[in-house]
């Protein structure tokens, strides 16, 4: 499904300095029963965000109005575990357009790009700098430039470049997706299948 294109995003960020955030935390399995892709944002981080009586847990960052923004900053190995794309849908549906971490699980990284959420992998040192900047000023802005493949802490001007392959970059910049690409080469695929 074509999604919003991604170019430059400048926003404050929400810090989640926990490692190995698995997709069961991002969206627990009991919320995977929908047959459409919208509405998952309400249950993003459900069991960290709400107690068993559905009351918001004050100590969880999404319930703290001090921290807002379109960028989620997570600890190392973000998105491990289940392949559920619902995790990326929930992040998108909540309003995030970019997740920053020092390491991503493979399937989550692919799912995120496929739904228009940009995963930005930075060094552990730069991740630490981002957390420090947000701690000092919760409204600290982060600028993510996809054309330049560059992430900058606006207040200090410190930046790092990040990797993304040219094909996926072009998709995100233009809101294209893989299905469009594959549809355009169906005869080549059929010929390949026939020769196997």
């Amino acid at each position: 499904m074509a999604y919003d294109s991604f170019n430059v995003l400048k926003s404050s960020a929400v810090p989640l300095p926990i490692e190995n955030v698995d997709t069961d935390q991002i969206i627990p399995a009991r919320f995977l029963k929908a047959t459409e892709r919208t509405g998952f944002g309400d249950n993003l981080f459900r069991d960290w965000r709400y107690d068993k009586n559905d009351a918001p847990k004050a100590d969880f960052v999404l319930n703290n109005p001090t921290y807002t923004g379109k960028i989620l900053v997570g600890g190392k190995n973000f998105g491990s575990g289940s392949s559920r794309e619902h995790a990326a849908w929930a992040i998108y549906d909540y309003g995030f357009r970019c997740v920053v971490s020092s390491f991503f699980a493979d399937i989550f990284r692919g799912n995120a790009i496929n739904v228009g959420v940009l995963p930005v992998q930075v060094s552990p040192e730069f991740l630490h700098e981002i957390f420090t900047a947000i701690e000092a000023d919760p409204k600290a802005e982060i600028e993510v430039s996809l054309p330049e493949q560059k992430i900058t802490i606006v207040s200090t001007g410190t930046f790092e470049n990040f990797a993304i392959n040219g094909y996926k970059k072009n998709n995100l910049l233009n809101g294209f997706d893989d299905i469009d690409y594959l549809q355009a080469m169906k005869s080549e695929i059929s010929a390949f299948a026939a020769n196997r």
Binding site: D24, K33, K52
Partner: protein, 467 residues
Amino acid sequence: MSNSPTTLFDKVWDSHVVRKIADGPDVFFIDRHFIHEVTSPVAFLGLLTRGIGVLSPERTFATADHNTPTINQHLPVEDPLSANQLLQLEKNTAKYGISHWGLGNPKNGIVHVVGPENGITLPGMTIVCGDSHTSTHGAFGAIAFGIGTSEVEMVLSSQCIMQPKPMKMRINVNGVLGKGVTPKDVALYIISKLTTSGATGYFVEYAGDVFEKMSMEGRMTVCNLSIEMGARGGMIAPDQTTFDYIHGRELAPKGADWDKQLAYWKTLKTDASATFDEEITFLASDIEPMITYGTNPGMGMGISKHIPNAVDIEGGVATYEKSLEYMGFAQNDSMIGKKVDYVFIGSCTNGRIEDFRAFASIVKGRKKAEHVTAWVVPGSHVVEAQIREEGIYDILTEAGFALRQPGCSACLAMNDDKIPAGKYAVSTSNRNFEGRQGPGSRTLLASPLVAAAAAITGVVTDPREFL
């Protein structure tokens, strides 16, 4: 170039690349596609929205497993959302002419159990499913891995996905496994050494004596857990054990086709001088029955050991302490003797006949601890029938265990099989994440033998005491 040494993984991957995109992924052809009720509906919706169809319906196989009840499967499914997902799967597969083994079908069961069981999974194939434990099928020398729903839509509409080729890792385990050490323990041991992200970016080949001597059921357990160390998948070169398992299965090749395919399968091995991006070797004699104590599958240890101290752990202390707090454990605790409330045997990891044989070998002639609630869930109807035929059913019943109907069940607790908040479950499944088996549940991952010992004594117990 064509004569340069290649790995098993290279041989299978390279023969499925339809197009290489410069500075981009490979367009990768998929031989077999499994779908289930939870990760497919949005993909079918996408086809409808785009006005496109299914390219090769004969290459996709559907089964209902993730949200299905494990009792009273003859009655309507009570949860309206689950019932709707099952209905959508039935309608979507009928509409596009896709084979569907729904609830009540004698071939129904967990997708990663029924695929191999029916001869759909074959060596040298590329196999995907919207489920991370698709890596299971790598046991046959296939490249098999989990995908997201956007990719399910890609496979349905074009029989391809777009993936960069992963790096290659070989993990060797040599020697002879000790008493009470099962394939599950081998996998949990490897994951504990590599951590939950240690193989991210890699596709793994398992090699060495231990895997060569292992049954297909055991190999499936090991490959199943590849994702838990971050690997996209894991595979084992096909050999006589593989061919014997496949031969005669309903959808496996027959006659001249069998001979032709077999000749090809025999070529599927890593060349002697081929190299890997990473290679790791372990000794079988270092592995004991394993148990996890934390909230990811990398937090496991030999059952006789003590929970590590935060200072000795790679990674953040805060994350580690948060994990132990969730579990209600302390650093340096022994796991032996910890109270167990629930025992779950089943799942795509340990829901095959060999797993129930192992479980029965310990519970035979003994009684389930009264305070333990046990869920014994076969991976498929075929496994269920074997359990009855082999007399395992009688052993279980006499020991106070009830046999449930097939499904994913308490592995991810999408149905009613939920571990209550704060309770401890020894589980033969694959993930001990917070709330994985129900909100607030606490999971100790282990083998069927460890699960059986815990079910009998009501506390974490070294199964070697019973062997």
